[in-house]
Amino acid sequence: MVLSVIALISALGVVLSKNPVTSVLCLIITFFTIAGHYIMMNAQFLAVVHIIVYAGAIMVLFLYVLMLMNLNAELEPQKRNWLKYAGAISGGALLVVLVAALRDASMPALSTQPTEIGLIKNLGQILFKQYVLPFEVSSILFLSAMVGAVVIGKKD
């Protein structure tokens, strides 16, 4: 409960803060609260990997880029008014679609009993026995993304 409140507040902070670095820091806090939720669901492996990958690697790169770009309010180009309205309308449309989609979805009640599936041993068994094909396919997807990044980087 407390975690969810912190998660929501920091997620709002990401969107509302004027300073991009503050946004990134709020996003990091959000990731930590999500990892906290994972731990409460007894998925420690997922929680730690979430922190290592998102907070530890991806957000560092975000911060890195932001620091080098040296953004501040004066340099930011003035947005036109119609652009703001267009943004608000498309965002609202997305919200409507999401609400409509989620309204019919059945939400299985979360069991209070701790499940063992998040523990690393069981997770490994399931990933490599039951879901081998999706697992391997997603790894190929990552590989192609990596190759793509190298190709783009090599251009100059």
């Binding site: 670095v21 990091i28 730690v48 690697a57 560092v60 790169l61 890195y64």
Partner: protein
């Protein structure tokens, strides 16, 4: 004693253990600064600190006192909140990793078995990895918030260096994990207690881990983020007083923790050869085991310092080339070989 269905002894025991570990890492880090200067002096044929107390043993206290009483300067153009947050994160993260290291076997006091490990989580190594990956925020935020181009350059260097060397470190660990089949540090130590030390099976993995540990701790020869002759001092250029002290101190704590980690994962941790043949009772053996781990850790700390005063600093492009083009392929090869051997032994 169970009150309100809480085992109070358990809480007291853990609080004592946590404070013990914390005090231990702080004291070791404090005396590492003294040791560093003594060893530097010895290697360069000087005397080193010898005025404060016998053999200069009170020098760390004098240094600490000096840092506390110095004037605190926060640059007016800096981001004040982040400027303070930087060294705090560095210090917090440095102290957190010690939680999952098993400092010894169990002690039996008044019929209670007390494990000398704060938390035996089943993802011990990953926990350390996660916390270490947080450490870079302290340096990055501190360097950026100073609003100084040298600090910024140093923090950018630190970020890319730490991210680059985390990869081979992780790959070296994966090879170790394939062998031990457990992520819990306690299990890894127990396996080594009844067999050979992991360094025998994983010499290459250990070497990669060692090099990466140097890079992750920003120690020479990889101390590019604080290369004073090109960066005026590095990411802590604008810091003064105890905030500077925290940054420097965090480095020494990191060194202590990574030494303890290497001793635990590759050199048997609290286990020492012939441990079970001595015929001593449990408590005595635990204390001896703790001493063994402590000595191993000190040897590694000495090695860190020895390297610092022997090997010159790398250039930045050399550092990156070493990380990406030597360490990662080596770690991958190591992983492949380990995988093949593990598979062959299973069949």
């Amino acid at each position: 004693m169970t009150l309100l269905s809480i085992d109070w002894f358990f809480i007291i025991e853990k609080v004592l253990l946590i404070s013990g570990v914390l005090v231990l890492s702080l004291v070791v880090a404090m005396y590492s600064t003294w040791g560093e200067r003594k060893i530097a002096a010895w290697i360069q044929d000087r005397l080193g600190p010898n005025r404060a107390g016998p053999m200069g043993l009170l020098q760390p206290l004098a240094d600490g006192g000096k840092l506390f009483f110095k004037e605190e300067i926060i640059p007016s153009t800096s981001n004040r909140f982040l400027f303070i947050l930087g060294p705090s994160i560095a210090m917090l993260v440095a102290c957190m990793t010690s939680a999952v290291i098993p400092w010894g076997d169990t002690l039996t006091i008044a019929g209670r078995e007390i494990s000398l490990q704060v938390a035996d989580v089943n993802i011990g190594i990953l926990f350390i990895f996660g916390v270490v990956s947080m450490g870079v925020y302290g340096i990055m935020l501190g360097g950026w918030a100073s609003n100084n181009k040298y600090s910024l350059m140093a923090s950018v260097r630190a970020a890319s260096q730490i991210i680059s060397y985390e990869l081979p470190m992780g790959l070296a660990l994966i090879a170790l994990l394939m062998m031990t089949g457990s992520l819990s540090l306690k299990d890894i130590v127990e396996q080594q207690r009844h067999g050979l030390w992991n360094v025998v099976y994983q010499p290459l993995g250990f070497f990669i881990f060692l090099v990466c540990a140097f890079a992750e701790c920003n120690r020479a020869p990889f101390d590019l983020p604080e290369a004073e002759n090109e960066l005026n001092g590095g990411y802590h250029l604008e810091y003064s007083s105890m905030k500077l002290g925290f940054f420097l101190f965090a480095e020494y704590i990191n060194m202590f923790i990574s030494s303890a980690l290497m001793a635990t994962m590759y050199f048997g941790g609290y286990a020492f050869p012939g441990m079970d043949k001595l015929g001593l009772d449990g408590n005595m053996l635990t204390i001896l085991g703790f001493l063994a781990l402590f000595i191993k850790t000190l040897v590694f700390i000495f090695f860190f310092m020895w390297v610092r005063w022997t090997v010159p600093r790398f250039r930045y492009d050399q550092l990156m080339r070493l990380g990406w083009k030597v360490m990662i392929p080596l770690a991958l090869v190591n992983m492949l070989i380990t995988g093949a051997v593990v598979l062959a032994r299973q069949h």
